[in-house]
Point group: C2
C-alpha cells in the first residue's frame, strides 16, 4: 500500500520524479499545503493580505528569508524547488508553464508561502463518520466566487472564494464544531443555506471544481477556500510568481492533529 509511506519518503519520490500528479489521499494524517511563491517586492503585501484574511489565507509556514528554499517546519529535507509534483509559473498574471521542478527559474528574491488546505479538516470529518460529498462522489470540491470582500492589502484584493459541502443540519452543526478546531485550515464555515445571500447565483454551476449532488434535507455549507489568495494573485498580476498546480500540494511532516487548537 504505497499511500502509507511517510511524507519524507513521498517528497523524495516527488523530488526524483518517481511520483507525479496529485497528492490527495497520500500520507493521511499529515498537513498538505497550498503554495504561493512571490518576489520580495510583492511578498510583504501578500503576507499582510493573508494576515487580514486568515480564513481563506491561513499561513501554515513561510520561508524565513527571501531566496530560502528550505522551510524546516515542513521537513528537514524539504526543498521548495523540487518537492511539489507540479508547479504553475505565472508572468504578469498569465499562466505560462507547468513544470515539475523550478530550480532553473529560482530567484534569490522569491518568498515561499505555504497555506493550509481543506484536506486536513476533511480527514477530521471523515474520521468522525461524516460523509464528505466531493470525496464520496470522487470529484474536486465545488468552489464558487462570492460577494464577500476580502480586506485589501496593497495590490492584493478581491472577493472570497468558498468551497461547498452539503450536510443535513445536525451534521452541519457537528462539521462546524470539528472545523472550528482547525483555524489554520480555513476554520469554521462562513455561511450555510441560501447561496444567493453570498452572491452565488446557481449552486449547480461552480466557478472552480465540480458540482456535487445536494440531497433532500441537506443544506450547502460554505467554507473559505484557498483559491481566494490564488485569485487575488491572478488579479494583482505580479511580473512573476509560482503556485502549485491544483491538487499537487506540499506534503509536510506536520501531523494534522498539531493544527487542532483543542
Amino acid at each position: 500500500m504505497s499511500q502509507a509511506i511517510t511524507p519524507s519518503q513521498l517528497r523524495a519520490q516527488i523530488r526524483s520524479g518517481q511520483h507525479q500528479g496529485h497528492t490527495s489521499g497520500w500520507c493521511n494524517g499529515y498537513v498538505q499545503c497550498n503554495v504561493a511563491i512571490l518576489p520580495k517586492a510583492w511578498a510583504d503585501e501578500f503576507l499582510q493580505f493573508c494576515q487580514l484574511n486568515p480564513k481563506p489565507c491561513p499561513v501554515v509556514a513561510m520561508a524565513a528569508n527571501p531566496g530560502d528554499t528550505h522551510i524546516p517546519e515542513i521537513g528537514p529535507d524539504f526543498d521548495i524547488r523540487s518537492d511539489v509534483p507540479k508547479y504553475r509559473i505565472w508572468r504578469n498574471g498569465e499562466l505560462v508553464e507547468e513544470v515539475s521542478d523550478i530550480s532553473d527559474v529560482w530567484q534569490d528574491d522569491l518568498v515561499t508561502f505555504l497555506l493550509g488546505c481543506s484536506f486536513s479538516f476533511e480527514e477530521a470529518l471523515l474520521a468522525d463518520g461524516l460523509e464528505v460529498r466531493n470525496i464520496s462522489e470522487d470529484v474536486n470540491v465545488p468552489m464558487y466566487n462570492t460577494n464577500i470582500s476580502c480586506k485589501p492589502a496593497g495590490r492584493f484584493h478581491g472577493n472570497t472564494v468558498v468551497s461547498m459541502r452539503p450536510f443535513k443540519p445536525a451534521d452541519a452543526i457537528r462539521m462546524i464544531q470539528i472545523c472550528s478546531r482547525f483555524p489554520s485550515v480555513h476554520g469554521a464555515p462562513i455561511h450555510f443555506g441560501d447561496p444567493a445571500a453570498i452572491g452565488i447565483a446557481d449552486i449547480h454551476r461552480t466557478d472552480y471544481g465540480d458540482a456535487v449532488s445536494i440531497k433532500e434535507g441537506e443544506v450547502p455549507v460554505f467554507t473559505a477556500c484557498g483559491v481566494t489568495p490564488q485569485a487575488a494573485i491572478a488579479a494583482a498580476k505580479p511580473e512573476f510568481c509560482i503556485t502549485h498546480s491544483p491538487g499537487c500540494m506540499v506534503v509536510s511532516d506536520i501531523p494534522n492533529s498539531k493544527l487542532a487548537i483543542f
Copy 2:
C-alpha cells in the same frame, strides 16, 4: 442597582420573601438552574433519563442523598426548601399548587436535581455581541415539541422539546461555536432551518413560551430545552414531585465560566 447583588444575597432575599418572582436578569455571570424534586422511588430512573439525554437534561448538581436540603456546590447557605422564588407542586401529574416555600411538604425521600438552563449560554451570546431575539423582544423564548425521541429510562420517556433563536447563518455558526463550549447548559444546537424536519408544523405557533420575529435572511436555530425533562415527568405522573415555576430558578454561586469546557 439591585441586580448587582451576589447570589448568596439574592437567595437570602428569596428565603425571606423579599424577592418574589423571576430570577432572569439577576446575578449575571452566575449559573441558574431548573429544579426537579422527585421521590427516591422515581429518582434513579430520572437520573438515568438525564444521563441518556444530556443535551435536554444536563445535571449541574444533585442532592447527595434523599432528603438532603443542602447542595454545597450551589452555595454554602443554599436550602432547596426556601431558595426558589416560586415552586410548583404536582400530584399524579397534576399541578396542584404554586408556593414560595416547600418546608411543610418536604419529605425525607425527596431527591433534588438541578439542571442547566439557557441563561448561561444566552449571556455568553450577548457578551459576544450577538442578538438574542427573545431578550431583545423581552418575551419568553419560543419552545416547541419535536419528533426527536429521547432515550427512555424506566417510566420516563418522551420527545425532545427545543427552544428556538433566529440568527443570520454567519451568526448561527458563531452561536454554535459558543454554545459548544457549554455542554452542561444544553450545548450546541441540535437543528437549524426547516422546522418540519423535526416535526414542528408552524414556527409561528409555539408549544411553550412566546413566538419571536424571524427576519429576512435569518434561520431558526433549535436547541434542546429544559422543558424536556419537565414534560417527561408530567407524562410519567409520579404521585408527588416539585419543580420550579417557569423563570423562577435556583441562583447558584457557580460562575458561568466554570461550565465552559474550553
